[in-house]
């Protein structure tokens, strides 16, 4: 019976609405107060039923909920035979709840879309070699799965056979299909647009990249700021307090009408729901646009940003450096190049790849006693020769003499924006390579947008030489650029900025900048979808797409502003209601309920605007 009433809440609202309309029509048109009174009584009894049931259930678990306040108010109205108010208040309350549910669903839609992309079934190879459809929960690591055209990839895996192209928008936000063949990695939640592939499961369920993203987004939308936690604590005592106040008012004034009006006016609503609504819509918008904002605290700090510090390689530049200039010194250059390549082959340094690509075919020899000199390069032995590969500082340390020409070359290479790789064999300089990294297309415009959004300082921190750093900085119009920085120098620099009272974001690829990412007020990771950086940072730009940064900042600002507006609406409404009950004649229970429900809808609708937020075009 109880469940039946509750599940028909919306129908009850509809019927009581009709009854109220009939009542008023019969009063105005036919001047019949009997029909008026009886239809309003029926509407009240009908309408209060689900509210009273909810109130009773709440009291059973020791919660004084809004339902309790409304039920008492309606009973009070009944008691003083004001059926008009009791009917209208219950109707408005039920109808309001219906509208709230509808609109709240809208604000949550962006994130819901995301979670609905979770694959549910998979075609799994059984013991007899045939593929059978199973629930995705039944897939274990190592299982072989078949993915057909148009189907979702159920787990993170590796392609065994077949080829096809996959839309990875759910993970990277990039909707251009990516070609996959044997050995390629595929991700859960992405869609095979054409072709048929068999994959072996590497990660399943919540361990997949997509599973982790969803969990992060879900956590983010629930995360609460200090202010919200305060409001929550506040509302726990607020509702019972309203009950007590109205009782006291009744005790002293013996005015039931006034007491129940206070009950209705005191309903907390917009205040409790306003901030979470902005939060969920803002984070939802981000999720749609390849920006992961981790919670309302992050949004608040991000929106008040003063300074953004950037890593250079892989962030402002493509991170695919190539050799643009070279000089050789003395004889036996081929031999020297072979040694250089042998040493670089074992290095993970980003410049090493460029060096190897440049040298190409050569004779590799075994490398011994490799020693990595931090911030300098590598020293190692090849065929009994001492080989030093690195920057000018390393050459000085190794007592390698640079002749006049070499010194001039160093100057020229650096002025042209190159990073230097020098190679010496047994203390004699043989090779100098100038390596340059291309600036990401569109970065300049993006930085300008950030400035327009109110970021005061754009600072580049790089391990590269000052010449390269200055050149990139001039080209991009940065406010400051610092070269020759080790990872710990970068984090020390960020600490200094924070100590000065600035709110600082650090943007990096998260590979060797994790200290800076962690230390900055806002760590922004350029995530390619699989990086661990996704977990440690505060904001993730999916698919390493720098151009999403202005959108992320604009969105954070819009969301923070939206939260403030909602708090303003909520508090404003309460103040106006309180003032009018004390100082005006026209305030009664029905109007109070109308305003109350109206303010809840107002904050939800205001929050919904964030779903459509787009960065306005910036004139350059």
């Amino acid at each position: 019976m109880q469940r039946h009433i509750l599940s028909n809440k919306n129908n009850i609202a509809l019927i009581s609405g009709i009854l109220i309309a009939v009542g008023f029509l019969s009063k105005w048109i036919m001047d019949n107060t009997d029909i008026f009174t009886s239809s309003l009584i029926i509407a009240s009894v009908l309408g209060v039923a689900p509210i009273a049931i909810q109130a009773y259930q709440a009291l059973k678990v020791k919660v004084v909920s809004i339902d309790v306040l409304v039920t008492i108010a309606v009973l009070g109205a009944f008691f003083i035979q004001n059926y008009e108010e009791s009917a209208i208040v219950t109707f408005l309350f039920l109808f309001g709840a219906y509208l709230e549910q509808r609109t709240l669903n809208k604000t949550r839609s962006a994130i819901k879309e995301l979670t609905e992309m979770v694959p549910e079934s998979a075609l799994k190879q059984m013991a007899d070699g045939k593929f059978e459809e199973v629930e995705v929960d039944e897939v274990d690591v190592g299982d072989v799965l078949l993915v057909k055209t148009g189907a979702k990839v159920p787990v993170d895996g590796t392609v065994l056979t077949g080829e096809g192209s996959i839309n990875e928008a759910s993970i990277t936000g990039e909707s251009l299909p990516v070609a996959k063949e044997k050995g390629s990695n595929v991700f859960a939640g992405t869609i095979l647009e054409n072709g048929t592939i068999q994959i072996v499961a590497d990660r399943v369920g919540e361990d997949t990249t997509f599973g982790r993203i969803i969990e992060l987004v879900e956590e983010a939308q629930e995360s609460k700021s200090e202010a919200e936690r305060f409001i929550d604590r506040f509302s726990k005592y607020y509702t019972p307090a309203v009950l007590v106040i109205s009782f006291i008012v009744w005790l002293f004034s013996r005015d039931v009408e006034l007491a129940i009006t206070i009950l209705v006016l005191g309903c907390p609503g917009a205040l409790v729901i306003g901030v979470p609504v902005s939060n969920v819509a803002g984070i939802g918008n981000g999720a749609r646009h390849g920006v992961l904002l981790k919670g309302s605290e992050v949004i608040r700090d991000f929106s008040r940003l003063d300074t953004i510090a950037f890593d250079k390689t892989g962030t402002l530049t493509m991170g695919n450096p190539s050799v643009t200039e070279k000089e050789f010194y003395g004889d036996n250059i081929d031999e020297a190049l072979g040694y250089l390549a042998s040493v670089e082959r074992e290095s993970e340094h980003p410049l090493a790849k460029a060096v190897l690509e440049e040298i190409g075919e050569t004779t590799f020899s075994p490398v011994e006693n490799t020693e990595v000199v931090k911030g300098g390069g590598i020293v190692a032995y090849v065929n009994g020769h001492r080989i030093a590969v690195g920057n000018v500082a390393l050459m000085e340390k190794e007592n390698v003499k640079l002749n006049e020409k070499a010194i001039a070359d160093v100057d020229r290479f650096e002025k042209n924006g190159n990073s230097l790789v020098l190679a010496a064999v047994d203390g004699e300089l043989k090779v100098m390579l100038g390596i340059r990294d291309q600036i990401r297309p569109g970065v300049k415009e993006d930085l300008l947008k950030l400035k327009k959004l109110g970021v005061k300082n754009l600072i580049m921190l790089s391990g590269d030489n000052q010449g390269t750093v200055d050149l990139v900085s001039r080209e991009l119009g940065l406010t400051e650029a610092h070269g020759n920085m080790l990872p710990e120098d970068k984090s020390a620099y960020i600490e200094k900025l924070i100590d000065e009272g600035q709110i600082v974001a650090f943007v990096g690829d998260g590979i060797n900048d994790s200290p800076s990412l962690a230390l900055a007020n806002i760590g922004i990771a350029m995530g390619s979808g699989t990086d661990v950086a996704i977990e440690t940072s505060d904001v993730v730009l999916m698919n390493s797409d720098f151009s999403r940064l202005p959108h992320a900042l604009g969105l954070a600002k819009a969301t923070a502003g939206n939260m403030k507006q909602n708090i303003f609406i909520a508090v404003g409404v309460v103040l106006v209601l309180l003032a009018s009950v004390l100082f005006s004649e026209w305030m009664n229970m029905s109007i109070g309920m109308l305003v109350h429900e109206g303010s809840i809808l107002a904050v939800i609708l205001n929050g919904m605007r964030l779903l459509r937020y787009k960065l306005r075009k910036v004139k350059i």
């Binding site: 599940s7 049931i53 709440a58 909920s65 669903n105 949550r108 879900e218 629930e222 509702t239 409790v272």
Partner: protein, 75 residues
Amino acid sequence: MKSATIQLETLTCPSCMQKIENALKSLEGIDKDSVNVLFNSSKAKLNFNEDEVSIEEIESAINKLGYDVIKSKVK
């Protein structure tokens, strides 16, 4: 101890969360600190001891409050 994730009908009022949270905490065999009702995703997450309480009993406690359980996952 098992952990359950229960997907509920859309929650619209924050006091619903309080109700569900208190109701779940009052059940026997539930790790009280683990109870977490998520407003925006309309989910309840908790750890429970399957010897003392079953997932059906947990669901029915939520049902009795007047909220529908859409689906629950135990692992």
